[in-house]
Symmetry: C2
DNA sequence: TTGTATGCGTTATCAT
DNA sequence: ATGATAACGCATACAA
């Protein structure tokens, strides 16, 4: 490393003040762009700053101002999701754009182990952020209750049951599911089944409810098969069982795109053509949707808007307004699988 | 919101001290787990802490200790790639695990606009982090030079041309690409094309260079097609164009697995069998590789190790050791696509 | 083992 | 318009 990188004591406001022959107060005013500072003083301070290489110490500033102008975004996802779900990137970007416009710094904190959980809690508690967005699919998340106890402005993206009653943003799974199933029915399907998952979460429950509403009187319990998780395997196995029960079915609503991908594979193995023989629709508009052949018709979640809305919820609380739960609109993306 | 969430003034060490009937010094010692504190005092302090609800103010602590025990990780990616690139998630997790073990908090800062770039630079300058990891900086990235000028311990993941001479970790994209293309050629392919991406980064440049070296005298510019990003769409479109130019090609090197997946889809749509008619190889060994049918032969990139190594480089500098550039090994994973 | 006093670098209040 | 001074909350060297 060359000499320019050797670390020497950082210049303080005092150094600038004496270099400029002015007081700390004046220097501070210049640095913060306040009024009541003469052009000459401003000049002198600016060149002194350049001369001594002054940069403001944020810790000191945060201490006296009692705020950090930073918002934490806590990512607590299983590895597989962090790797593949494009939604999380969009949420991040959405939150960032809102916070950036409000001149807040978004700092993302990831939780991978229990140790992380503790450290992140400490970080939040320490006053290094003025608020937090929590994105987490997990139920009864310890960090979530920790955040609640801190009493700092916070908002969830999604709303796993068992989490503290903090404001959250989400989508209306019931009407979204209903919309895509109605679209499926509109293609002329007569016997539509569902592979339902995660009925212990509201997303799972609500998607089933939407399905039930859409099919109406044609609803039959044995056209629904349930699995605990939104997985490819659930789709593959569930489809096999449904075909055994109802070889004549001509439509399937899978609770997620991954599930749909599994179901499609089983259908094709069993010689059913998609969409000619059986139409299939999914949910999420994740990368699975494009990797299927034919590509999946599905429900698109406005991930970036979720991030934006969550950030707005936090900002509102900081400003003392109270934050309301916000439900966002989804849209049907119609491709080739139905 | 109910009453427990109303914010009141945070308790300080003084509050604890008076509640416990002891001095601030003793309280501080207890909080920091230092020796020379009697069991009785410890008890008294602990219950006082619980009573007044004390949590330490990190800004104050950081100010006096002149360190933050946090490391910034700067993500500077185009929208579409953020988190859809599985490598980023792995790098994040890898860096996090190393820093977590060393009791440092990883804070991720994303740069999406010029405004972000400025704000992140301010954040780093302010002393809110003790070091930084910069991932996928692009050529002549302003934040990269800013970090260098700050003189804080830092390391790059990857090494775009034109960036400051800071330590970095990377893989040898040239020889990795060369290795897999040679393996492809060894299957008897005579006319091998490449879908190249991201030529504004070293990874893109080097993979192309590796390809060129491997094919040697058989290299022809029109067998290479270029795209700005490593995407499925680039693969699909690029393959279509290559087939138009050279209907008789029998091998393809895609610059990433996502690109290869897109290319494979196009090949199959055009009635080419993989690997019988055309052999295809990718790069990354991401989840795309396993979901393709047939599964992709590819280069395994140790993304988590890159994150770990970069974190270690930063930690080493903090400890005053000097950090050396580290190149990590890649390996060819041979499956069914070629 | 405990208490006291000083300083960390800013901002903000109040004079001037 | 500028300067002096008092916080902000904590850690720590030193005194007791």
């Amino acid at each position: 490393m060359d000499s320019t990188r050797t670390r020497r004591r950082r210049a303080t406001i005092n150094d600038v003040a004496s270099a400029a022959g002015l007081s700390r107060g004046t220097v501070s005013r210049v640095v913060n762009g306040e009024k009541y500072v003469s052009p000459e003083a401003k000049m002198a301070v600016e060149s002194a700053i350049a001369k001594v290489g002054y940069v403001r110490n944020s810790a000191a500033r945060n201490l006296v101002r009692q705020e950090s102008r930073a918002i934490g975004l806590i990512i607590h996802e299983p590895h597989s999701l962090l790797f593949e779900d494009p939604n999380i990137g969009s949420i991040l970007l959405g939150a960032n754009s809102v916070l950036s416009a409000a001149d807040y710094q978004l700092v993302s904190l990831i939780i991978d182990t229990a140790r992380d959980s503790q450290r992140v809690a400490d970080y939040l508690r320490g006053g290094l952020v003025d608020g937090a967005v929590i994105i987490s699919a997990r139920t009864a998340d310890p960090i979530a209750t920790a955040v609640r106890n801190l009493g700092i402005p916070a908002a969830f993206v999604g709303h796993p049951p068992g989490t503290p009653d903090l404001p959250y943003v989400g989508i209306d799974n019931v009407s979204a599911a209903r919309a895509i199933v109605e679209r499926l029915l509109a293609t002329g399907r007569k016997k539509v089944a569902m592979i339902a998952c995660a009925l212990d979460r509201d997303s799972g429950q609500d998607r089933l409810e939407g399905f039930r509403t859409a099919v109406g009187a044609a609803f039959r319990p044995d056209l629904v098969i349930e699995f605990p998780l939104y997985t490819y395997a659930a789709g593959a196995d569930g489809m096999a069982e449904l075909l055994r029960r109802h070889p004549d079915l001509d439509g399937v609503f899978a609770a997620s795109d991954a599930v749909a991908a599994g179901a499609m594979a089983t259908l094709q193995e069993h010689g059913r053509r998609v969409p000619e023989d059986v139409g299939i629709v999914g949910f999420d508009d994740s990368s699975w949707a494009l990797r299927c052949k034919p590509q999946l018709s599905t429900v698109k979640q406005p991930a970036d808007l979720l991030g934006r809305a969550a950030a707005e919820l936090v900002l509102a609380q900081i400003e003392g307004k109270d934050a309301e739960v916000r439900m966002l609109e989804t849209s049907v993306v119609w491709r080739e699988s139905a």
